[in-house]
Amino acid sequence: MKRRDFIKFSVLGLVLFQKETLIAKTISKNNALVLEEVYEILFPKTTTMPSSKEFNALKFLLSTINHKSFLDYDKNLVINGANSFIRSFPKFLKLNKEEKKELIYSIVNDNDYANTWLSKLVYFGIEAMLADPIYGGNTNQIGWKSINHKIGYPRPKRRYGKKL
């Protein structure tokens, strides 16, 4: 079962990765649910670090992905990757927590497309955790506090460097 799904994701993913040129428009509700669950596996709560839900990884992504500065390539990869993942693993949301984790761990370093997609999600998860809270993540500076980061001042009053 997993082997078959793995191959399916790999082939489908590669096709999408190489051929899809249209810019994906936005994250659908279903994609958002999947991304939120995937993010919890990528960034689980630990004794020292907050979970993706605590630093609002999904909210950050939804809040930034449509800005003109978000690269089209990245936007395509995030959204098309999610579509491809859902097509390959349609029952993902129905799996229990351990099964979900097992699935993600089984593909992350064994499938090039999965590796590319998940590393991009990790990157934007890091942005959500450590960018200024003005962008929707890093709730109450939870990311900065967790790593004892010394904040730089002044903090932004407007997003994307807009003049005051």
């Binding site: 990528l42 500065s69 942005e127 200024d132 004892n148 730089g152 002044p154």
Partner: protein, 555 residues
């Protein structure tokens, strides 16, 4: 309106001209491609400043092509594919807003490398048409007007100075300097302290540095950093002789039959074409874009581009190569509280190997990795032992926590001289155009094997020092690739119009009313960042123009 002087660009090469000539009473018009940001507009927003690069145009819209030698042929890559951005800040003050500000002068022998070492095989190294003595008083002027903080170091290659001290006391230093100095003494390395164009005390309208922990890459929120905007343009505005037209993208210089520039044609923010007329034109758009503008300004008088009938424009582009050596520190060698002290400067360099008997060496500058937590964390997502293995889950989270809370990485940046050569140049290609339909600059980045050998020689010194300090996980990443923010050459100055674009005053040999005052003039770059020398040279050119203005604009 006919201005006395039109300046294209507003960074380090433009600022001194703007400052000096507007103060002398000339009507100066600046055409700046970007916007005018005030001090209070800047913040320490890592996402905006370094991840989304908001002070630059979108790469898909305005890119470069880079030519690399791969499989025995030159292959062209548009930078929107690679993400390698050679735009360094479109705003008033240009990239000087974002510099780290370590300000080293060139040394007397940097002006005569060909005489001192001979010509390296396949290089185009030449002596400068001026000497260190010609430049010294302008270096001194920069230290006072731009504001340089520091302590003069006593070492073998310290250059002669007319002022014994820097005008501002040294900035506060990070505790790791104790470890560096101890290890340096043990290795018999000289302790060289880094001067910085960041003022440690309030000066005129500028406040002192407040050690924000976010300096390099960020606009300064106190005015301490000696950007062209803070130190020169804001004071120049008070003369009422200065007009700044922002969001003016200059696309062509128009000439007349006398081979003089009559106007600069630019696109406004709304996309309409406009013109500025002036008696004298100063080009300072940063080296690559300056060559691009000249090459794209083709007309009957200059079919190969303005000032390019000799076919020298764009040639002998310089950058700074070398790469980086890194070492990680933890509480095994320095108390954690001291190690984690934010904001203070390292301000140390290895300069004992700047020259050797056999070859021109270079410098190693020490700096903690920038505070930027997103950038740092992104490195930690890969397994140290298998760089293709993505870390996720608890393993990733634990690594993020321990790396940020228990370690700090010191970078040793290698600065070797970039040897000018036939395969390092700027050209334009009609097949690659920006969103306005203007051919983009193509950058061929050929380097000589010699430069890599010098970099490796310097890297060994850096590794030695890091080992002596007790650093862990020492890694060398040495390469001959250019630093996209360090650009010079392309319009080298010289006495011979057949082999140079500019004369020794940076006036175009072929166009009497054109001066180029960014780093384009430099035949060699020294083993240091170029900004200090660009500022000093621009003051030198400003002095020449001030003394000869009527003669220069005389019909």
């Amino acid at each position: 309106m006919m201005y006395d002087i039109c300046v294209i660009g507003s960074g380090a090469g433009a600022g001194p001209i703007i400052y000096e000539l507007s103060k002398q009473g000339h009507k100066v018009c600046v055409l700046e491609k970007g916007d005018f940001y005030k001090r209070e507009d800047f913040s320490k927003d890592e996402l905006a400043v370094t991840r989304r690069s908001v002070y630059n145009p979108k790469l898909e819209d305005e890119y470069h092509t880079v030519e690399e030698y791969i499989n025995e042929e030159w292959t062209k890559f548009p930078t929107y594919d690679t993400g390698w951005n050679f735009n360094n800040g479109n705003l008033v003050g240009g990239s000087s807003n974002f510099m780290s500000g370590f300000f080293y002068r060139l040394k007397p022998d940097d002006f005569k490398l060909a005489s001192k070492y001979g010509k390296i095989k396949d290089s185009n190294i030449v002596d400068w048409p001026i000497t260190y003595e010609d430049m010294e008083k302008y270096y001194d002027k920069v230290e006072k007007i731009i504001g340089v903080s520091g302590e003069v170091s006593d070492y073998k290659y310290q250059e002669p100075r007319s002022s014994k001290t820097f005008p501002f006391k040294a900035l506060d230093e990070h505790p790791i300097t104790k470890l560096i100095d101890k290890a340096s003494k043990e290795l018999n390395f000289s302790i060289v302290k880094t001067p910085r164009a960041i003022i440690s005390e309030a000066y005129k309208q500028r406040s002192a540095c407040y050690y924000s922990n976010y300096c390099g890459s960020y606009g300064c929120s106190s005015g301490a950093k000696g950007s062209s905007r803070e130190a020169l343009i804001l004071p120049a505005l008070k003369t009422n002789n200065l007009t700044i037209i922002t969001n003016a993208n200059v696309i062509k210089l128009n000439t007349n039959k006398d081979k003089k520039i009559t106007s600069a044609l630019y696109l406004s923010k709304q996309g309409s074409k406009k013109e500025v007329k002036a008696k004298l034109f100063i080009l300072a758009a940063q080296a690559i874009e300056s060559s691009r503008l000249l090459l794209n300004s083709k007309d009957a008088n200059f079919p190969n581009g303005v000032a390019n009938n000799s076919l020298n424009v764009g040639k002998n582009l310089l950058s700074s190569s070398g790469g980086i050596v890194t070492g990680t520190f933890d509480e095994s060698v320095i108390p954690l509280k001291e190690l984690m002290t934010p904001g203070l400067f390292v301000n140390r360099a290895i300069k004992d190997f700047y020259f050797t008997k056999e070859f021109k060496g270079g410098m190693v500058e020490m700096v903690f990795e920038h505070a930027n937590p997103i950038r740092r964390a992104n490195f930690f997502k890969w397994d140290e032992n298998d760089s293709s293995k993505l870390l996720i889950g608890k393993e990733l989270q634990d690594k993020l926590f321990s790396s940020f809370t228990k370690t700090k990485t010191l970078n040793m940046e290698i600065f070797a001289d970039w040897s000018s050569n036939d395969n390092s140049f700027v050209s334009v290609d009609e097949n690659y155009k920006d969103k306005y339909g203007i051919p983009v600059a193509n950058i061929r980045i050929g380097t000589l094997k010699h430069d890599l050998e010098v970099s490796n020689f310097l890297a060994k010194k850096a590794v030695k020092l890091l080992k002596q300090m007790g650093a862990k996980n020492i890694q060398s990443n040495i390469d001959a690739l250019p630093s996209s923010n360090l650009q010079a050459g392309g319009c080298r100055f010289g006495d011979n119009p057949k082999t140079s674009v500019l004369n020794k005053y940076c006036q175009a040999h072929e166009v009497k009313n054109l001066f180029v005052t960014d780093g384009s003039f430099m035949p060699s770059g020294g083993s240091v960042p170029f900004t200090f020398t660009i500022y000093a040279n621009s003051f030198r050119v400003a002095s020449y123009i001030k003394n000869n203005f009527n003669k220069l604009v005389d019909k």
